[in-house]
């Protein structure tokens, strides 16, 4: 019931943030309406970092504690992180065409490292399909999840370390936290969208975790069923041999 309330809260928050971002806040003087894309684009990128950070953290917890609930959280983070990374890339492309003049540029370090991040975690999800053994799957995925997380700071700091099309951080760098490069009305709207997306993220994480647990229980049930069938088949063949 609490999760359902969280779902309604997420829906309301996303609707309000969208209305504010599209209709209430004025357009940027230089970028025009295209700047409105920044709100879901940046919020998606931050949530992608958070999701993959959760995947890495809970991967480590699985390796340490050997509790499959941690692996379920790691899986939820990876799947939802892939979705938010795709949203960030899509939003960036839709903003880039009218503002930069191109949808994409492979020479840009931020864009390329983000594409790599997406590929790494799609690989993580594919890797999970290679084995039915939950423990082996969790261990392999945890190692990949932790190694892939090395790309998160590379994506984030790529705009500071190398030159490219992508602008440097607007509010996320420590020296700009209290003096952002954008007007406060835009920063406030961005933080509002980030808050709304974070509530939606939390709701989806809970639901995806519940799904992972339910799927694991089903797998376990199917495995026990197969084991029982093998035992019954073994018993009936041995009783037939005894009868002969």
């Amino acid at each position: 019931m609490k999760t359902r309330i969280l779902g309604f809260a997420a829906l309301a928050a996303v609707v309000v943030a969208t209305v504010v971002g599209l209709l209430v806040v004025p357009a940027d003087l230089n970028q025009g309406d295209a700047q409105r894309i920044m709100y879901p684009h940046v919020a998606s990128a931050w949530l992608a970092y958070l999701s993959f950070g959760v995947t890495a953290l809970f991967g480590i917890l699985w390796l340490w504690k050997r509790d499959l609930r941690y692996d379920a959280v790691a899986l939820a983070g990876a799947e939802i992180g892939v979705m938010f990374t795709a949203f960030a890339i899509w939003g960036g492309m839709m903003w880039g065409r009218p503002v930069w003049g191109v949808f994409w540029q492979w020479e840009d370090p931020r864009l390329t490292t983000t594409a790599l991040l997406l590929a790494l975690y799609v690989g993580y999800l594919l890797l999970r399909r290679l084995t039915d053994d939950p423990e082996r799957r969790a261990t392999r995925a945890a190692i990949v999840g932790v190694v892939a997380a090395v790309d998160i700071p590379i994506v984030h700091f790529s705009v500071e370390w190398w030159r490219g099309l992508h602008q440097t951080a607007t509010i996320a760098s420590p020296e700009r936290a209290l003096d952002p490069a954008a007007p406060m009305v835009f920063v406030g709207t961005l933080l509002g969208m980030l808050g709304a997306f974070t509530v939606a993220w939390l709701y989806l994480m809970i639901r995806r975790y519940q799904l992972a647990r339910a799927e694991l229980a089903r797998e376990e049930e199917a495995r026990l069923g197969r084991l029982r069938a093998v035992q019954v088949a073994g018993l009936s063949s041995s009783s037939q041999e005894t009868a002969r």
């Binding site: 019931m1 295209a34 894309i37 979705m83 989806l204 089903r218």
Partner: protein, 39 residues
């Protein structure tokens, strides 16, 4: 395409994707978990 077209394309795919993922998640959860416990 105009700026408004890019804005609509961006918001449409992101919010539509978020909604679609939520619906697919519900359906998968319902299929995997027949009882209504914990909802």
């Amino acid at each position: 395409m105009t700026d408004a077209g890019f804005v609509i394309a961006a918001y449409g795919v992101i919010l539509g994707g978020l909604g679609l993922y939520t619906v697919v998640l519900w359906r998968r959860l319902r299929a995997a978990q027949p009882s209504d416990e914990g909802r």
